[in-house]
């Protein structure tokens, strides 16, 4: 029998892998200094030396996309780490123990879930001030409810399974059961959830940096580049297209992967 090719996995793997490789290379070698300004190259078009052209200060856009994508990736990873970490802990506790703890926590989670995540991140940033680490914290907190809900529903289902009863009879403590026995079984649901969360984090970070309340200069970020590029849309449309394209490829890659594994 001919094996059916999973096109989602293939395309997603190529796109996500390619973008990650692009960012990884950018960590070690950059074609130009991302901050180097050159008056002669202002709005220079696409050329071999500058494949994406140059911006309003004559900075190489290719280099800046490389650096900006790195920042965006770092923020998204940090966000998912906080969101998934805290979300898993809350979801596991509420799902496994139930009772009043569940009632209280889920009410709070529901209340938090009522906020669009970007709005919640705005609250945190308006209290703490902008900057890379505040954005990670803000988005991380904003992403906790969605992870907590998914994990909780998994724990509610899995705690009734025979292997859990078995472990209980063997005398395992609740925390051992929760994190050694049940947690690995949530993996098939958690992997796509984390990927989708990662995508939402990329989009949210880009949105916040675009609004000017996210990553602050001198850190380059794709969202910030887009907001700068928008003023020069008439003169240099390519300035806006490439950072946007980088976001799309990154998100598309991971959403295809999430589709493929779920």
């Amino acid at each position: 029998m001919k094996r059916k090719i999973n096109y989602n996995l293939l395309a997603g793997g190529i796109l996500a892998g390619g973008m990650l490789l692009f960012i990884l290379i950018g960590c070690f070698v950059l074609p130009y200094d991302p901050e180097a300004m050159n008056d002669k190259l202002r709005f220079a078009g696409i050329s071999l030396a500058h494949p994406f052209g140059c911006d309003n200060f004559g900075r190489d856009i290719f280099t800046r996309v490389m650096v900006g994508a790195r920042t965006t990736l770092a923020v998204a990873l940090g966000t998912v780490a906080i969101g998934a970490g805290a979300g898993t802990l809350i979801g596991a506790l509420t799902g496994y123990f139930g009772g009043w703890l569940d009632e209280v926590m889920m009410r709070v989670i529901d209340a938090l879930f009522a906020f669009p995540s970007i709005l919640m991140a705005l609250v945190v940033v308006s209290l703490l001030g902008p900057g890379k680490y505040h954005v990670i914290l803000a988005l991380g907190i904003a992403f906790v409810p969605s992870f907590a809900r998914v994990v909780r529903s998994q724990y509610l289902k899995l705690k009734e399974m025979d292997f859990v009863k078995n472990a209980q009879i063997l005398g395992c403590g609740p925390f051992r059961i929760m994190f050694v026995h049940i947690l690995p079984n949530t993996l098939s649901v958690m992997v796509p959830t984390v990927m989708i969360g990662f995508n939402n984090a990329v989009l949210a970070e880009a949105g916040m940096s675009y609004l000017g309340i996210g990553v602050q200069p001198p850190d380059a970020s794709l969202g910030r580049m887009l907001s700068e590029a928008q003023s020069f849309l008439f003169r240099q449309p390519m300035y806006a297209v490439f950072p946007g394209l980088a976001i799309i490829l990154l998100v598309l890659g991971f959403s295809l992967l999430a589709d493929a594994v779920s």
Binding site: A111, A114, S126, A206, G207, Y210, L211, L233, L252
Partner: protein, 316 residues
Amino acid sequence: MKYVGKKILTMLLTLLLVSFLVFLCFTVIPGDPAVAKLGTEASPEALAALREEMGLNRPFMVRYMDWLLSFMRGNLGESYSYESSVGELLGDKVPITITMSLMSMLMIVVISIPLGLYTAHHEGGILDKVIYAAGQVIMAVPAFFAGILITLLFGIILKLFTPGGYVSYSKDFGAFLAYMFFPSLAIALPKSAMTVKLLRSGMIEEKKQDYVRTAYSRGNNTKGVLYKHVLKNALLPIITFLGMTFTDIIAGSIVVEQVFGIPGIGRILLTSISRRDYPVVMAVIVCLAAVVIVVSTLVDLLYQRLDPRIRLEVRK
């Protein structure tokens, strides 16, 4: 009725909790509002007097109840940085955001239902595959970048609208609606792609059910079965999804407003955040959260009305 009562009670509790959390955040964490209003150069006496006047010396719970009660009476507080009340400040901006949200919602429905039906009906066809691939790409586009691309394509290349040429609704309502078309489209496009995907998979799932076979065996034609039986069931999850999408539309409108230079709720929220004008930020956040909570409760109730299976389950 018991179900409705329980939902409404939960909604009120959630609203209360949200208002409490927001009040807690904005009174405990930031600096002194008196300093914010008078500046750091102010004399200690003036600050103390203002604190007394603003009621900052009273216990936390008393201040919360006070704020909540006046909030419910429609008094949203006084802005620190603008010389006017928050209510006045937001009043003329609310219609802008509402128009944009409703327009995007309408576009999502208009775009996604026909496409969802078509792709489900022609599953595996060329156009189905093209729509699927295009949908995957469109879903990955952030709304504000969609806005920039739309500005580039329709505004600069095709010259169908003037970028930044916002017209107030009080001046010329027709021109206002025309200008709002493209921002709404920027919000609606990625969401439509998601809706199409969801509707398509829902329809395909429903088509496999026994009742569909029965309907065919009774001699119904394909169109009759699809529109009368399958669509009804496949639309149910879409209603929930659209309810959730409403949250994203409102959040998206904050960002997209900036792309198109629309002076709506988003702009006032952002300027207030940068000026640390907390009464305005608080009011906007609580109002937006309230809208979202009320809408999601309404969607739950509507869903229960439309799907008798849920009604039965609740009764059990």
